[in-house]
């Protein structure tokens, strides 16, 4: 049985599944329930500076996107950082860490951009016995209007500066949480690294309006007839998060910077995908908010089974395994030629492949009077759209043409040499063969 124990930048936890800093981690009561349910770690709901706490709206603070049968696909929120007194949170964190010494407890922090504020909050959280701090440079709503959260995360110089302060005023491991609301995620990651961060965590939520109420003509969630943009999370954001994690993981300048993966992790498989792209652990929020803390049991059993099936002894064997295969477009092998193949026995004759190809692609699927659908190899560019729209898994596949065979579309023989755009004759910038 694979060992799920996690050691992320020296912070140990029974498994790599942490709860992200968010509503589920706002109170001792919730966090105790989370640890009892099996979560390996918790990033406590973000703490603000000493003084009267922030207030939240008193109307709805979440909006959602649903799939079939109201399966929640995306969640958006306009909740701020913890709205409970700082000392209450610190006392609770202290008690929880005392009672759960083997679980990871991280303090998430967000205070104004001045050194004293950060120095002060760090001195307070150190006394809780927490295992590290996470700097919340990500929240895109409310706090950002006050110069915090993503307002910091969007300026690499600020990211570096605050990170430096935190490293200077504490010995705790520092994780910098990045906002995705930026054009190049590598820039703030580099800034965090340059500031001495032990790790980055990403993604925080994405600026979003989930829906518009077409009777009120207002975004949802609607507060007295108006709405503000919120932070988007849940399964819908996972592809965006995976790419940003990979961008950091494969950047030579950022090599070795540990990553805590966040963004729509709902099942063990999602977690494994983040890890394969370089995340040392994952943080989860929306899935727990949708289904409750018990889902971690499936994540634990699923990841464990997968590691066993792959013959991996521990999570470390998985982390980063897919990173070498994430390349730039120009590095892809243009001599890799595939054609769609339809399994006629599996086909249920819905015709979606035909409609998609005929209307929107390459007219490479034929339809007979008896609704038999066949691929026209002369036209098929292997775009994969038919595979994507087919409702039957495995019915349409992409099969590689063997070397030496003539590609009916081009009339040229298939080569088994690797050749990419950089050397292609149509490329005006092509490199001369050496």
């Amino acid at each position: 049985m694979a060992n799920l124990e996690s050691n992320f930048i020296g912070i140990k936890s029974p498994n790599p599944f942490w709860l992200a800093s968010a509503p589920p981690t706002d109170k001792e009561y919730n966090v105790r329930r989370a640890f009892d349910a099996g979560w390996g770690g918790v990033v406590w709901k973000t703490l603000g500076e000493e003084g009267p706490p922030v207030v939240n709206v008193n109307g709805p603070r979440y909006g959602a996107i649903w799939g079939a049968d109201r399966r929640l696909l995306g969640l958006n929120n306009i909740e701020l950082i913890t709205d409970r007194p700082l000392q209450t949170n610190l006392d609770e964190m202290t008690r929880v860490k005392r009672d759960y010494p083997d679980h990871a407890l991280i303090a998430s922090l967000m205070v104004p951009v001045n050194e004293d504020s950060w120095k002060d909050i760090l001195s307070r959280v150190i006394d809780t016995g927490c295992d590290g701090v996470e700097l919340n440079f990500g929240c895109p709503h409310g706090m950002s209007e006050r110069g915090m959260g993503s307002a910091v995360g969007q300026v690499p110089e600020y990211v570096q500066m605050v990170t430096e302060w935190c490293k200077k005023h504490s010995n705790l491991p520092v994780i910098v949480k990045l906002t995705p609301n930026i054009s190049d995620i590598r820039k703030p990651a580099q800034a965090a690294k340059d500031g001495g961060a032990d790790a980055v965590s990403l993604i925080n939520t994405i600026n979003s309006i989930t829906t518009v109420d077409l009777d009120l003509f207002a975004p949802q969630p609607t507060i007295d007839g108006q709405g503000a943009h919120g932070g988007y999370c849940g399964p819908a954001v996972k592809p965006i998060a995976l790419n940003m994690v990979a961008e950091i993981a494969r950047d030579p300048a950022l090599k070795g910077l540990p990553i805590s993966g966040i963004g729509g992790v709902t099942t063990w498989r999602d977690a494994a995908e983040f890890m394969a792209l370089g995340a040392g652990n994952v943080q989860v929020c929306t899935a727990a908010m949708t289904y409750g803390f018990k889902i971690v049991q499936e994540m634990i059993s699923g990841l464990s089974q997968y590691l066993d099936e792959k013959g991996f002894a521990s999570v470390d064997d998985l982390v980063g395994r897919a990173v070498p295969n994430v390349v730039n477009w120009q590095d892809l092998n243009l001599n890799y030629i595939t054609k769609a193949r339809i399994d006629q026995d599996a086909c249920i004759k819905c015709g979606r492949c035909f409609a998609a190809c005929e209307d929107t692609s390459h007219q490479a699927i034929s339809m007979s009077d008896d609704r038999t659908f066949d691929v026209i190899d002369e036209e098929c560019v292997a775009c994969n759209l038919c595979v994507n729209v087919c409702p039957i898994e495995g019915c349409i596949t992409m099969e590689r043409l063997p070397a030496g065979e003539i590609d009916p579309r081009t009339g040229k023989p298939v080569s088994d040499d690797y050749a990419n755009w950089t050397t292609h004759p149509n490329n005006p910038m092509k490199c001369a063969a050496e």
């Binding site: 049968d69 109201r70 249920i348 819905c350 015709g351 979606r352 035909f354 409702p391």
Partner: protein, 440 residues
């Protein structure tokens, strides 16, 4: 079990009041909003969808299901009703398992088709409950058209003609319009006076006058109708009932299944409707099943449905056969009635087993019976009709008969299945042809 249930003979009130309500409640209650969204989401929006091909009225099923899925059931209803103005009733009575749902690719994939019939009912119910009618008449043409028979074919024809701007008079021999929708069809498929409400809703288009109690041959002649109108459409159904051809067929307790079904549909108090303790239904079609199941639901102790050929030859669909079996009807196949026994009233029916080619085997058996329903088919009734093709009125694709200016459709016309939905399609198509020929 109460004494009443065991009492021999044909008796009313075999059940308590709650049992009648339960037995004759909606067979498939309307989907609620969420159920409809979940069911609609299963539709793959097929290209040139097989379900549409399988629908006699060519309803654009993927489109109406998508309209439900996006929260516009009213638009879905209009999509349905523009092809099939009786889409509400067809949603209840269509043998979808042999039409659209049999063709559904999810039937192929999983053996579980999209619930097309129930989704159609959901959409049409939403619209009809709002009381609105989504179609309007074209500018008046001044043309007058007689429609004989206010069943599905006649009503469909009348509505389409009215929509095209013609003035339509619909004649029907019965007291109420609706035809088999009102007088046929098992009660649990059309609860809460749906057939009546649907006719009222259909007539909202205007331009249609309904004259009931007027029957071709008795009160009307085809010649006079032609003289008084620019065109005539015959949707007179099948007024006659086939006989068993046995001696003693007139004994007390032996009735036509269609009359039993009509009485049941029109009964204001089912507890006053008598039914036998031992009921035998002879026939293998939908009418036979409707009579047998409802006899059972009325409290008959033993109901046997006896069909002369093998089960796979029965006209009743597998779904209907399973429904009958689930309600406790015993289905006996390969048996022909050869004698009726009893002194004044029927006491037993004697059958002889036969193979699928109806070759008698010489082996006989008797079933006790205090009530027998004949359901071996209906026949065209009337004189002076257009030329026949076999036993029904010969028609072209668009319902033209041998008499110029006279169209026909529905069960009385040759060709097509004897289904409500087929009748609606034929009435609609004849209306378009009448319109084209009058306005040409």
């Amino acid at each position: 079990m109460s004494d009443t249930a065991l009492t021999p003979g044909i008796r009313a009130g075999r059940l308590n009041a709650a049992a009648y309500d339960e037995n004759f409640g909606d067979l498939h209650p309307r989907l609620d909003d969420h159920e409809a969204l979940v069911a609609a989401d299963r539709c793959y929006f097929c290209h040139d969808a097989p379900c549409v091909t399988a629908c006699p009225t060519d309803i654009d099923i993927p489109l109406f299901i998508r309209q439900i899925a996006t929260g516009t059931p009213e638009a879905a209803a209009k999509t349905i009703l523009s092809q099939n103005i009786l889409g509400g009733m067809c949603a209840r009575v269509c043998p979808t398992e042999t039409l659209c749902e049999e063709a559904c690719v999810r039937e192929t994939a999983e053996g579980k088709p999209v619930l097309i019939g129930q989704l159609q009912r959901y959409a049409t119910d939403v619209l009809m409950d709002q009381g609105s009618h989504p179609f309007a008449r074209a500018e008046a043409t001044g043309k007058r058209i007689a429609v004989v028979g206010a069943g599905p074919a006649g009503l469909s024809c009348a509505h389409r003609l009215a929509m095209r701007g013609h003035d339509v008079t619909v004649f029907d021999g019965r007291a109420k319009p609706g035809g088999l929708n009102e007088y046929g069809i098992a009660a649990y498929k059309s609860v809460d006076h749906f057939a009546e409400r649907e006719v009222e809703w259909l007539l909202q288009i205007g331009g249609i006058t309904v004259e009931t109690g007027k029957r071709l041959g008795n009160d009307l002649t085809l010649k006079q109708l032609q003289a008084d109108h620019d065109a005539v459409f015959l949707g007179i159904g099948l007024g006659g009932v086939n006989a068993l051809g046995l001696e003693a067929e007139e004994k007390d307790g032996i009735t036509n299944a269609v009359d039993f079904i009509a009485d049941l549909r029109q009964a204001s108090d089912l507890a006053k409707l008598p039914v036998g303790r031992d009921v035998v239904v002879i026939g293998g079609g939908m009418t036979a099943v409707d009579a047998a199941v409802q006899a059972k639901l009325l409290g008959a102790l033993n109901v046997s449905l006896v069909y002369r050929r093998g089960r796979e030859r029965m006209n009743a669909s597998t779904f209907e056969q399973d429904l009958a079996a689930s309600k406790g009807v015993r289905i006996i196949t390969n048996a022909q009635p050869i004698a009726i026994h009893g002194n004044g009233a029927v006491r037993e029916v004697e059958f002889e087993y036969a193979d699928d080619d109806l070759k008698p085997t010489g082996q006989t058996f008797r079933l006790p019976a205090d009530q027998v329903f004949k359901a071996i088919g209906q026949t065209l009734d009337g004189d002076g009709l257009p030329d026949l093709d076999g036993r029904k009125i010969a028609v072209t694709d668009t319902g033209r008969t041998s008499i110029a200016g006279v169209w026909a459709g529905g069960d009385c016309a040759a060709g097509g299945d004897d289904l409500t939905v087929t009748a609606v399609a034929e009435g609609r198509d004849a209306a378009e042809d009448i319109h084209a020929s009058l306005m040409g």
